[in-house]
Point group: C2
Chain length 251, copies 2
DNA sequence: CGGCCACTTGAGCGTACTCAAAACGCGTGG
DNA sequence: CCACGCGTTTTGAGTACGCTCAAGTGGCCG
């Protein structure tokens, strides 16, 4: 079990190769499955990487879009600026996740993308991206990425408007668990790569409520927490916590 | 001012032609701007329409996707089934809006689409749609539609997790206002085509809270309501209601 | 060691929910 | 035409969940 962030980062670094095979960019990074005409493009796409330090912006909302990105290593968050000047987290990104697709509408990003620690991000510039899209296979792939993001955000909105604090936090833990599992890690034992404050912002709750709820789950023996490390002891209890009846029908 | 739903529907019917020019399908319904090779496709797309009665489903969640749709007349809602069996409204659709794009990921719809009154929906079958996407112009158009939906859902999620009841209802009214304005109607005087219960479901509030909040806005002289008809008397007051400071920063 | 930040935990409060009753609109049928 | 029934909306009173404010702990780094 990774007990410190440094140790955890080592683990991540060691498994970078494995991560690539499950990266959402998929064949974008594996030229051999692409039509010959496009094999020229990808070495460039693979070369271009951006390194970010904690707190640095990959892009700002309203920036002109210059490319799309996939997380190679590290963690990022996407934030939407709110009318009151605050900013609201709408997504956490880990290795293999894709960013910047929301900019395809107006050619300008709708959100900020901020590194939560040291990050390495793969870039495909917009002109390369557009050439890429002339090919049906990649075009379908990109549409799937877009559609998946629509589904994810729809479910997130539905959750925020429907579920109680306990349900939201349980959902969040299960979601993190699944994401680690998808990447080949344990679904029972993993690290939350964000602060309580950030979880709260993401779930529409205060960090005190996050803290209290995690303590509650721990008191129930459903999880064990040490700082940011989670051990899920009773997955089904968390699931049944989510499925609890709540208000609001479609009318 | 439209005082009854029947009267309102007449208004809608009369302006169908105007609506088409602002339809999100855009050039899909206007073959003359398309490459010659595709002019064959669109007469078919234009022919195929579906008529729905109030309460009928255009498609169910988990249905295999057979096409994409644009609303020609009438109103629909998209609902996401929740784990507890309830269902949560994630979008209201009026003429010119597009549905079914969330299915492009798994080739199965993620949500239910339900007619809220008599509807007419334009259909493009999936195979025609895919042929269409071989063309760059239409392909870009579809990606823009997808990206716009991502932006919309992100903003909706952010609102649900951040704003108070008054802020949410004010935002909702302004959003409806803008949507009517985009379609060439008055932004000050329009009809809510959904019940208080449905607004509440959409905003993550109870219908009592919706009712109370609308009464509050009316007491403040910001709006006047008669049944489902809204008259906005002080747009800027609603705007400033939204911009009010609220909790939650990105940490 | 001291300062800082993230986190935990407690006590009190406020917003929005719950339950309830009554008014209203609308379609149906006598 | 009015009576009736049903669903929607309004409004009220009480409650509860999650926020606010606050104090205290623990870990990390200079």
């Amino acid at each position: 079990m990774a007990n410190t962030e440094a140790e955890f980062q080592d683990t991540v670094a060691l498994s970078t190769r494995a991560v690539c095979s499950q990266c959402a960019f998929g064949e974008l990074c594996f030229p051999h499955v692409l039509p010959v005409a496009f094999q020229i493009l990808f070495p460039l796409a693979r070369e271009k990487r951006i390194r970010l330090k904690r707190g640095e912006f990959l892009f700002h909302a309203r920036d002109q879009q210059t490319g799309i990105y996939a997380v190679k290593a590290g963690f990022l968050k996407t934030c939407l600026p709110m009318p009151d000047g605050q900013s609201k987290i709408v997504g956490f990104l880990a290795m293999g996740d894709v960013l910047g697709l929301d900019g395809l509408d107006r050619r300008a990003h709708a959100s900020d993308a901020i590194a939560m620690n040291g990050c390495e991000v793969c870039v495909i510039s917009l002109d390369k991206f557009e050439k890429l899209l002339e090919h049906p296979v990649e075009s379908v792939h990109v549409r799937q990425l877009l559609a998946r993001e629509i589904t994810r955000l729809g479910e997130h909105a539905a959750a925020l408007g429907t579920l109680s604090a306990k349900q939201l936090v349980a959902t969040f833990l299960l979601d993190m668990s699944r994401r680690w599992e998808d990447r080949g890690y344990s679904k029972h034992e993993f690290m939350l790569f964000m602060s309580r404050k950030e979880i709260g912002n993401y779930l529409g709750l205060t960090f005190e409520t996050i803290s209290r709820t995690l303590s509650y789950f721990q008191a129930k023996q459903w999880i064990t927490m040490h700082a940011k490390n989670v051990l899920i002891r009773d997955m089904s209890a968390l699931h049944s916590q989510v499925a609890r009846a709540s208000w609001g029908s479609a009318g």
